[in-house]
């Protein structure tokens, strides 16, 4: 249904861009406060438009599956009348369930993060620049999610990369921030090289960039053939989709390209919050969902999507257990949750015994999780920023005892942790439950098991963070602890969707978020024991975390011992048991399972990247070494070149 808001959906893109220009050129230097208010106002307008579009669309969701808000021809690379084939890139806005959902989420989070930043950045001398760049980032992400075609998406995709480079390296006087931003930029661009090749391959065979066209069955038939692609004769559909997915692989920081994401924590916390909740890292998931009908016809691609996602979910969760930096815990948690979203898409393709068809539940569950995760992860980062602001340290062991001093933050954090831990009835429960259900229905038993286990693990490490940060005694002298209203407001607002968003949105996601393609229509089994099992996994994670970190055992123990002399030995014995238990789980499990994985991540995965860098530098050294300055040498090399030509031609 075309409405005023859909035809003028360009306003959503215009607003952040306007903020970027105005703040970057004029307001930023004069008054950062004016810049901030301007940004909040403009982003609110964008949010308003997004909400209006969403209401209009979802209330008539059965009439159409998409609307093109507007579309114009942009670059005509080749036209049929001259070169014999068409290659035209358009620019426009595609409004369909997933893009509208993302528009709402991104604009909402932009507004909140902008508000939060007013408090967070108030002592930073270059806050004006911050508000300008943050809007550029929002603009890129909004453009990415509303792209009508893959070329436009790639443009915004890279723009997201470039603006994240500027934001992560915002504090460029810190060398670690600079190298982190460079790493993020280069690693994601490495993946984008494959993405670009994939776009070129697919668009050459189909002569279109348009998502709607690409997702048609006819396109699949065009692509599903064997052709020479430079490195051998391969199936174009498989290779093309895998290449495109490689872009998402890097952007969503799936193993082993996840190396950039934990380092990206060097940016200001509002930046981490916006990057990790609803923007940059979700782009890969979004790309996979956007081209889902195309991807789903390649079994290999779907398997890669599922297993890469599941592995990352497990891997990152295990590492998160070992981290002590609050932002790094959240970063690995993000990776793990992204793994959930990704494998949920992958398991939509049921294994052959189950019919091999597409189960729309996996798709809608993935999008649902994108939505709920955006709320609670954004919130968690904002909380982390709040806490860091007070404690002036990222280490959770420097915190503790903040429960009384920061009541709002404490309650919000509890809600967020319950949500991410998948406890009924918080938001994360509904989406995670659906994801696990989808993998069970699809017959992916291994992934199902991983999903359940990681659910427990998630609850464990999140409550580890929660207990260590807020409970116990404060481990550091803190002066004038207070909760900045600008920073608290967004946290409290986000607590609402984190708490109840899942319950209210689940039906909408179920009905409206289905891939635009033929689907499995049979009723699939829906075991009633599953929610109970999932919740109990989460609860046992929480209990375990409480057992290790929640009780203030040493202080408690000594006071009890003083009070009850005769029972002292018993208590002490219990302590032996306690220590033994701690030894078995904490020391053995941590040291021999989690720590080696962490080591593998730091040394091997990062090592490969460093090795690549080293090899490139060595190559550079060779090139410079050969450049001797001797003309004789230059001429000899030229003769070699001549011989090469002779060899090739004859």
């Amino acid at each position: 249904m075309e409405t005023f808001f859909t035809t003028n959906s360009w306003v959503i893109l215009l607003m952040p861009f306007l903020v970027f220009l105005v703040n970057g050129l004029f307001l930023g230097k004069r008054s950062w406060r004016a810049a901030a208010y301007f940004a909040v106002a403009c982003m609110s307008v964008a949010f308003f438009f997004a909400i209006k579009i969403a209401i209009g669309f979802f209330s008539h969701v059965h009439e159409h599956s998409y609307i093109k808000g507007w579309e114009i021809e942009w670059l005509r690379f080749a036209s049929a009348d001259i070169l014999g084939f068409d290659l035209v890139a358009n620019v426009g806005m595609l409004l369909d369930p997933i893009s509208i959902m993302m528009l709402v989420v991104v604009t909402a989070i932009s507004v909140l993060v902008n508000i939060y930043s007013i408090g967070y950045m108030k002592e930073d001398p270059s806050a004006g620049r911050f508000f300008s760049l943050l809007s550029l980032f929002s603009f890129s992400m909004l453009g990415l999610v509303s792209s009508t075609n893959i070329f436009q998406m790639f443009v915004f995709w890279e723009l997201v990369g470039a603006s994240s480079y500027l934001l992560i390296g915002f504090w460029y006087h810190k060398p670690s921030a600079v190298s982190a931003s460079k790493k993020a930029f280069i690693v994601t661009r490495f993946a984008d090289a494959f993405f670009l090749a994939g776009i070129i391959a697919v668009s050459y065979f189909t002569q279109t960039f348009d998502f709607i066209e690409l997702n048609k069955l006819a396109t699949v038939e065009t692509l599903n053939r064997y052709a020479f692609l430079g490195f051998g004769t391969v199936n174009v559909l498989t290779v093309g989709t895998l290449l495109i997915f490689a872009g998402g692989w890097g952007k969503s920081a799936m193993f082993p390209l996840h190396i950039w994401l934990p380092d990206a924590m060097e940016g200001p916390t509002p930046v981490s919050s916006i990057i990790h909740s609803a923007t940059m890292v979700v782009a890969g998931i979004y790309l996979t969902a956007r081209l889902f009908p195309l991807f789903s016809h390649s079994p290999l691609t779907m398997d890669v999507v599922a297993y890469v996602g599941a592995f990352t979910a497990l891997f990152a969760a295990v590492i998160a257990v070992t981290q002590n930096d609050i932002k790094r815990i959240l970063a690995f948690s993000t990776l793990s949750q992204l793994g959930y979203m990704l494998f949920s898409l992958g398991v939509s393709k049921m294994v052959v015994e189950e019919g091999g068809a597409i189960n729309s539940l996996g798709y809608s569950a993935s999008m649902f999780h994108v939505f709920t995760h955006a709320a609670f992860k954004c919130m968690l980062f904002l909380i982390a920023g709040q806490v860091i602001h007070v404690v002036h340290s990222n280490n959770i062991w420097d915190m503790g005892g903040l429960r009384k001093k920061m009541p709002f933050t404490y309650v919000s954090c509890l809600i967020a942790c319950l949500a991410i831990g998948g406890i009924w009835p918080f938001a994360g429960f509904w989406s995670k439950d659906e994801i696990i259900l989808a993998s069970l229905q699809g017959g992916h038993t291994v992934i199902f098991a991983i999903g359940l286990f990681v659910g427990g693990l998630t609850a464990f490490y999140m409550f580890r963070l929660f207990f260590v940060t807020f409970h116990g005694e404060s481990r550091k002298e803190l002066h004038h602890v207070h909760e900045d209203p600008f920073m608290t407001f967004p946290i409290v607002v986000l607590a609402i969707p984190s708490a109840v968003g899942g319950y209210f949105a689940k039906d909408l996601f179920h009905h409206a978020f289905v891939p635009n393609m033929p689907l499995h229509i049979h009723e699939l089994s829906h075991p009633h024991w599953l929610p109970w099992v999932a919740t109990s996994m989460g609860l046992s994670g929480i209990i375990l975390a409480y057992f290790f970190f929640g009780r203030n055992k040493f202080t408690q123990a000594s006071s009890i011992a003083k009070a009850m002399g005769p029972l002292h030995t018993v208590i002490e014995n219990k302590f032996y048991f306690d220590e033994f238990y701690l030894f078995m789980t904490h020391k053995v499990a941590f040291r021999f399972v989690a720590a080696p994985i962490k080591w593998f991540d730091r040394k091997i995965v990062d090592g490969v990247m460093n090795l690549t860098g080293f090899l490139l530098h060595a190559g550079g050294a060779i090139v410079r070494f050969l450049q001797t300055g001797q003309v004789q040498m230059y001429l000899s090399v030229m003769i070699l070149g001549l011989l090469y030509f002779c060899y090739r031609v004859f």
Binding site: W74, L75, R76, F77, A78, S79, I82, L83, G84, L87, F154, V155, F156, E158, L159, A162, Y172, H173, V178, K182, F185, I186, R189, F190, D192, A193, L196, A197, I200, A201, S203, A227, F228, L229, G230, F231, L243, L616, H617, G619, G620, I622, R624, L626, Q627, V631, M633, Y634, L635, V637, M638, L640, G641, L642, Y644, F645, C646, R648, V649, F650
Partner: protein, 475 residues
């Protein structure tokens, strides 16, 4: 009909005009007069070129062809000449550059204009003699211009290397031509074309072609014929380096295209693949070499070696998109490179043209630093800047022939290039200058040129009609 060759004829006249102004006019600011006259003249020529009909073919004295493709190339040459003159103006004034003042202004301008005239001849030639003489006319002035800092030993050394290797190249071209003449018995393109159509695998002709392509690879600085480039780029005055990296390279590309899509069209497939492989090696070596450089002109040499690799990759697909995509990219490459060289010229006024001199640029002139970032991002192919759309077309053209492996390789290469372009940004923004910096002076000419070129870098990739017009003309 003579209007088609008017721009070509005006070029030597303009050169003579500049020389005679120098002879007959006495004035305090003669330098400015000379450069302004030359720039105005070249601007006139550019306007003339753009106003010629691009959809017609015209033969002057049967052996000098003007059509849309050739006009586009001439526009590239003329525009680079225009900016080189403007760039040179900054170097000819007092305190214009750390290396010293450029003297003999009128001769400097005249040599550049003659050089551009040679380039015009290369694209319009319809027989091998004009092609050869045009190529020499486009090369020999560069020898002189490279040695323009006569007191600088390294400048002379670079020029010497250039002359020796350039002469070998000329010899190779002539050897190739004589093989061709031996095989065909005629020097005209038409005769060569009909000969190649009937004898596509004549060994003598192919042997000649090998020599010719080796020479072209030298001009393009393709690996392994590239080794002169870093030394010469470093030795030459910066305006000359800019002209070398843009116009000379475009001439070599024009040379390849006019041959491969002219007389050698029937045997094009024999050469495109070897050239494509060389292109991949070239971009790799260029990218590797550019890491850990500290001299800006040398860095630009490696960077443009890599860029030449990307450009030549487009030919490998052998497709219809190859020529439009290359020309499209050349325009973008021109804008980006000249913009960078103007920035180098600004910071090179009181400091050596080195990486370390960029330090503190973000503090001193945020606008200039921002433009630097834009240009480098464009060279690295970050959308939506022009460099990205250009590269996309080049890669798409290579993919047309099914060489996706090479496309992935090239795309990965541009990731590597991002690494060292970021190093420059790091110098400008992050590294602290060691001592207090003298303030930067930007002349009107410089700020004017930088403004126009920046606009081009941003807009050429965004405006929709630019690529379609080029496709329409040369498709």
């Amino acid at each position: 009909m003579l209007t088609f060759v008017t721009p070509d004829m005006l070029l030597p006249i303009l050169a003579l005009l500049v020389l005679s102004i120098d002879l007959f006019i006495e004035s305090k600011n003669k330098t400015a007069i000379l450069f302004d006259t030359a720039a105005a003249g070249v601007l006139l020529i550019i306007v003339l070129l753009f106003n010629l009909p691009h959809d017609q073919e015209f033969y002057y004295l049967t052996n000098y062809k003007v059509d849309g493709l050739r006009l586009l190339f001439k526009e590239i040459f003329a525009i680079s000449l225009f900016f080189t003159i403007l760039l040179g103006k900054g170097y000819a004034r007092k305190n214009g550059n750390w290396r010293g003042i450029l003297k003999y202004d009128s001769e400097f301008i005249a040599l550049l204009i003659f050089c551009a005239f040679g380039m015009f001849c290369v694209v319009s030639a319809q027989e091998l003699i004009t092609l050869f003489i045009g190529l020499e006319l486009a090369t020999i002035p560069m020898y002189f211009l490279t040695a323009y800092y006569k007191k600088d030993q390294s400048s002379l050394e670079g020029a010497m290397k250039y002359i020796i290797m350039g002469s070998l190249t000329s010899a190779l071209v002539l050897l190739g031509y004589s093989f061709w003449y031996g095989a065909v018995g005629c020097l005209r393109y038409e005769a060569i074309l009909s000969f190649v159509q009937t004898n596509p695998d004549n060994p003598m002709f192919l042997a000649g072609a090998i020599f010719v392509f080796a020479a072209v690879c030298f001009k393009l600085a393709m690996v392994p014929f590239h080794m002169w480039a870093p030394d010469v780029y470093q030795a030459a005055p910066t305006p000359v380096t800019a002209f070398l990296s843009v116009a000379s390279k475009s001439t070599a590309i024009a040379f390849v295209i006019t041959l491969l899509y002219g007389p050698l069209a029937p045997i094009r497939h024999v050469f495109t693949y070897p050239l494509g492989i060389l292109a991949c090696i070239t971009m790799t070596v260029g990218n590797l070499g550019a890491m850990r450089q500290y001299e800006l002109r040398r860095f630009m040499a490696y960077s443009s070696i890599a860029q030449a690799g990307y450009i030549m990759l487009a030919l490998v697909g052998n497709g219809k998109m190859a020529v439009p995509s290359i020309i499209y990219y050349l325009f973008i490459y021109l804008a980006t490179n000249f913009c960078l060289f103007f920035i180098i010229s600004v910071i090179g006024q009181k400091r050596p043209e080195e990486f370390a001199s960029l330090r503190g640029l973000a503090k001193q002139s945020p606008a200039l630093a921002g433009i630097l970032v834009l240009c480098l991002f464009s060279l690295a192919g970050i959308p939506p800047l022009a460099g990205f759309t250009g590269k996309f077309m080049l890669f798409a053209s290579a993919a047309e022939g099914g060489f996706y492996g090479l496309v992935i390789f090239a795309a990965l290469n541009s990731t590597v290039s991002l690494y060292y372009y970021l190093l420059l940004i790091k110098e400008a923004y992050i590294n602290k200058p060691e001592e207090d910096l003298e303030s930067l002076e930007i002349t009107f000419t410089q700020s004017f040129s930088i403004a126009i070129l920046t606009l081009a870098v941003v807009i050429l990739g965004l405006i929709p009609w630019f690529s379609s017009i080029i496709t329409k003309i040369v498709g």
